[in-house]
Structures are given as structure tokens and as C-alpha cells.
């Protein structure tokens, strides 16, 4: 047990943030590799991005170092269930919309979002989804006249 405590070092949130900054910087360096930086008096498209990439890289390294050597600080526990269901609901909505239309996309997204909380109540969610779908169709397509596809056909 004592050995475990000894080994548990580092601040994981800082480490994760540092890695995030590093990833952004490296992605940026890669994406802007062909852009000309120009000079300070005549900046090219790549000047400011590259300056920011260096700043991100430096602070990323800083946070990684801090994260590794700081006292132990665990990652806060994520609420995975709501997190994943909400993100999945948005993604499913986005992917269903174009092919299946508003009505089905809304109902599908509501059913998935409903999984975020226990107990899951399909007998409430399904009629609620149908109601929201009907309401959105009326409001957005009929009322506001948005050019959205309602049905798969």
C-alpha cells in the first residue's frame, strides 16, 4: 500500500491539458507547414499561426512537466453515462438528418438522450419524442419555413 502511494505522483488534469496543448501545436505545425510566414513587416498567412503554435508547444511542455512532477492529483471522475449519451444523441441526429429526415432523427435522438438517466422510461420517452418531433416540424418547417427535410422520402 505504501509503495502504491509513493508511486502515485503527478497531476493528471494538468498532464492531460498539457498533452492537449501539445497535440494542438503539433497538428497546427503540420497543417501550416506549407504556409509562408513572411516577415514581421509583411506577415504571411503562416506568421500568426506559427507564433501561436510555438506558444502552445511551450506551454504544453510546461504543463506536461508540471503534471508529471506535481503532487498526486487524480483525474476528476467523469459522468460518463450522460456524457456519452448526450454526445451520441447529437451525433446520431446529425447523421440521420440528411437521409432519414427531421421526424425520425428527432425521435432517435430523444430516445438516446433518454438513456442519460436511470431509470430509462421508454413508455415516456417514445410519446415525448413523437410530440417533440411533431412540434419541431410544425414550428421550424411550417412556422419558420426552414428548408428542412421532414421524412426519408
Amino acid at each position: 500500500m505504501g509503495a502504491l502511494v509513493m508511486r502515485a505522483r503527478g497531476s493528471l488534469p494538468d498532464l492531460a491539458f498539457g498533452l492537449f496543448l501539445l497535440a494542438l501545436a503539433l497538428l497546427g505545425f503540420y497543417a501550416t507547414r506549407n504556409l509562408s510566414a513572411g516577415t514581421a513587416s509583411d506577415m504571411g498567412a503562416g506568421y500568426v499561426p506559427r507564433a501561436l503554435e510555438w506558444a502552445l508547444l511551450a506551454s504544453g511542455v510546461g504543463y506536461v512537466v508540471k503534471g508529471m512532477f506535481a503532487g498526486f492529483n487524480p483525474m476528476p471522475s467523469f459522468a460518463w453515462r450522460p456524457l456519452l449519451t448526450i454526445l451520441a444523441a447529437v451525433a446520431v441526429f446529425a447523421l440521420c438528418f440528411q437521409s432519414l429526415g427531421l421526424i425520425i432523427a428527432v425521435i432517435a435522438a430523444i430516445l438516446i438522450a433518454g438513456l442519460a438517466q436511470r431509470p430509462v422510461q421508454p413508455h415516456v420517452l417514445l410519446p415525448f419524442g413523437v410530440a417533440v418531433a411533431a412540434f419541431s416540424g410544425l414550428l421550424f418547417v411550417w412556422g419558420l419555413g426552414l428548408p428542412l427535410k421532414l421524412w426519408p422520402w
Binding site: 492531460a16 497543417a31 509583411d42 504571411g44 499561426p49 448526450i86 447529437v90 446529425a94 428527432v106 428542412l148
Partner: protein
Amino acid sequence: MSGHVDLFSNLAIGFATAATPANLAFCLIGVAIGTLVGVLPGISPLTTVAMLLPFTFGLPPESALIMLSGIFYGAQYGGSTTAILVNVPGETSSVITCIDGHQMARQGRAGPALAIAAIGSFFAGTVATVAIALMSVPLAHFALKFTAVETVSLIVLGLISAVVLAHGSAIKAILMIIVGVFLGLVGIDVNSGVPRMTFGLPQLADGIGFVPVALGLFGIAEMIHNLATPQDRALVRTKISSLMPSRSDLVAAAPAILRGTGLGTILGVLPGGGAALPAFAAYALEKKVARDPSRFGKGAIEGVAGPESANNAGAQTSFVPMLTLGIPSNPLMALMIGALMIQGIQPGPQVMTKQPELFWGLIASMWIGNLMLVVINLPLVGVWVSLLRVPYRLLFPAILIFCAIGVYSINNAPADAIMVAVFGFIGYWLVKCDFEPAPMLLGFVLGPLMEENLRRAMLIARGDPTTFLTRPISGTLLVIALLLVIAAVLPMIRSKREEVFVEGET
């Protein structure tokens, strides 16, 4: 004396714009939605504005802004209702109203508490409207002389002060700004027409949409947080017998309303201002000037009157930097800037001269909106409270759907909705790890503007960066920014700043 004539003719233009039937209707819709959002805990005005923004693209710019602004200041009214009756803040800015407002409700004095909150808010709203009208003209005229050099320094100052006045670590906040600016640069470079960091994706050619970013960072993250921490909403079962405050209530509340209004008006203008800081500061002030501070926390009416006036005044005057300088002082104002840009209006001091109807119409609508709020709040308080019975379990999927439809309808692109999910994850993760996403949004909105002006300024100065320091206005702005950074890092001042926030959280 021509200044006065100008003020009246300007306000006349404003009222002529704001009082058209269509704009009155948009104002009413805005404040009604604002009240709704304010009453319901867990839905912020920020999310609501971001959610409704796509649907305003087809409206004339003044109607869009009138409605979206109504949501923000309307929410400050609604937030107090929940705070007083349920002891749950409808908005962050009404956290402080819970303390004494709910105690008053428990003593059977919910009516007077609600009435004082409304009266104070209306008074503050009226004063703030006049203050905006008076402050804007000189500020905008001053800023009209700005060249690219001053604009860069102003943006730096705006971003820095937002950091200093925000919660938490200044270093983290500055990093969040840099991340925001960096993400803001994605898309086609306006100067050279070259796509930058788009990875060849046509969806990124116009840059990352700011509506998906704002909705993801704040709306989705907020939703996940709410689902993870369920709240119970215990209504006070006492009947609201009389709304009329007694004479002694009024005598006690009047000076507090005056102080709160003054404090809120000033603090709201500061970058980083908004509605929350003024409310906290006003409560601290009331406690300090009270003859018997021990009454606070036990139903002191000043503890409701001061903060409620302050948050409403602050909410309104926080429009000043956005309207006159084009610098958003908080994330919500960043959304307003975005709304202007989507309407094809370049935010900045020229809005006042080029779009007087928009500028003065918005200001006039704030006063009209405040009047509407008193009317729809006090008599209908029972209706609003009954909305609290709608369970969050059903509320959040509906909000999620409206967000998704709104984002989708901007470009009819699934990519935008996917972006919401990506930034939703980032937003939740950042908040969990104590990194605030608000500065990131400010950087994101201001980044492209800053780069454009920086490039122009350096071109004019032939690559000599000292120009930012040697030009007097620019130099002054940067020195102020530097002083603010020093202030934020000095431990003594920092602990004082934390104190103001902690006051509200205990």
C-alpha cells in the same frame, strides 16, 4: 448644449425603431424567453442565445439583437423568482438572492421580496439605459480615431481584463485565450485567400462555426453537468398573499436599490463584467454599510434589493464595450458580436454612425423590455413558478433537439452538429479539470480580428513592434493591461478578488 439635443434625437430614433409592432413583438418574445430561462435552473441565457441565434439569421439585424438581448436581461429578472421561492438560483447572478430572499419567503414575505426585486430591477434598468446612451457617444467617438495599432492594443486589453476579472487562475485563462485565438484562425485567410489548417476539408473553409463552439462549450457541457448533479426543487408552499411591500420595506430598500444600481452600472461596463460580479459586490457592500450586519442571511430586504438591482444594471451596461468598441466583455457578448457579424455588420465604433437605428433601437428596446418584464413577472409569478414542475428529465432532450436543429439549419451541414459534440466534450472536460472555457470563446471570436489588425499595424509600422508602445493611446491601453496582469498575479489582490466570489458560494 448640443449634446442634450443629440441625446434626445438619438433616443427618438431608437424609440421609433424599437416601438414598431414587429420589434415590440420580438422584444416581448425575447424577455419572455429570458424570464423562462431565468426561472428554470440549469438553462443559462448563454445556451439559450446560442440555441436561438441560427433562427435569427433571417431577421433584420435590429430585430435579432433586440430579441437576443431581451433574453439576457430578462433572465436576470426570472432568476430572482426561483431564488426567492425555491432557494435554487435560476442564474449564477441570483445565487446571492437566495440568501436573504429565500429567508424572507420562509417568513411569509415572498411577495414583498419578489416585488422589491422587480422594482429594483426596473429602476436599475432605467438608469442603466440612460447610462448606456450617455456613455456610448463619447466612447464611440473616441474609438473612431483608432487605427489598427490601437485596435490591437484594445483587443489585448479586452482579453486580459476578461481574464483578470474572471474566476480562477489567470495563467490558465491566458492559455485558454491562446487556444481560442488559434482555433479562430482556422479557415481561409482573408488577406491571402489561402486556406489555413482546414486539412483539405471543405467544411472548415469558412472556419469553425462559432455557434457550434459556443453551444458545445457551454450548452452541452452544462447539460451533462446538470444530469450528473440532480437538484431537488422544493417549492415554498406558502401562498403569496400580498405583493405589496410595506412602507418600512420601501424605506429600507430604496438606498440599497440606489447603491446596487450605481455599483452594477459601473461594474457592468468593465471587461469581464456581466451580471454575476455586480450582484456579489452589491451584497458585500450592503453588508458593509448596514448598521446591523447580523440581519443578513436572516431575511434582510437590502440583501435582495441591492444585488437584484446590481445584476440588472450590470447586465445592461455590459453591452457598452460590445456596442461602442466591438469588444465583448463576457461570452454572451461574444455571441452578440457573432450575431452582428453574421448579419454582415462589422462590430465596432462605426456601428453607431452607420447603423443608428440598430444602435439606438437596441438601447431603447432595453427600457421597453424592462417595462414589459415588470408586467409579465409580478402578476404572472404563479405561472412561471408552475413551470418549475416540468422535470429536467424531459426538458433537456427537448433543448438538445432545438440546439441540434438550430446548428444544423445554419448550413444544412451534419459537420456543424458533429462539431457541437466535439466541443461539448472539450467543454465538459475543461470545466471538470478547472479550466474555464469562457476566455477561449472570447479569444475565438476576437482572434481573427486581432490578427487582421496586427498584420495591418505591422505593415504600417514597417515591422517595428515598438509602435504599439510609442503611440500614446495604444501605449496607455497596453500599460493598463500589464497592470491588470500584475494585479491578477499578486497574491494579496487575488485573495481579495476570490473573497468577493466566495461570499456568494457559501
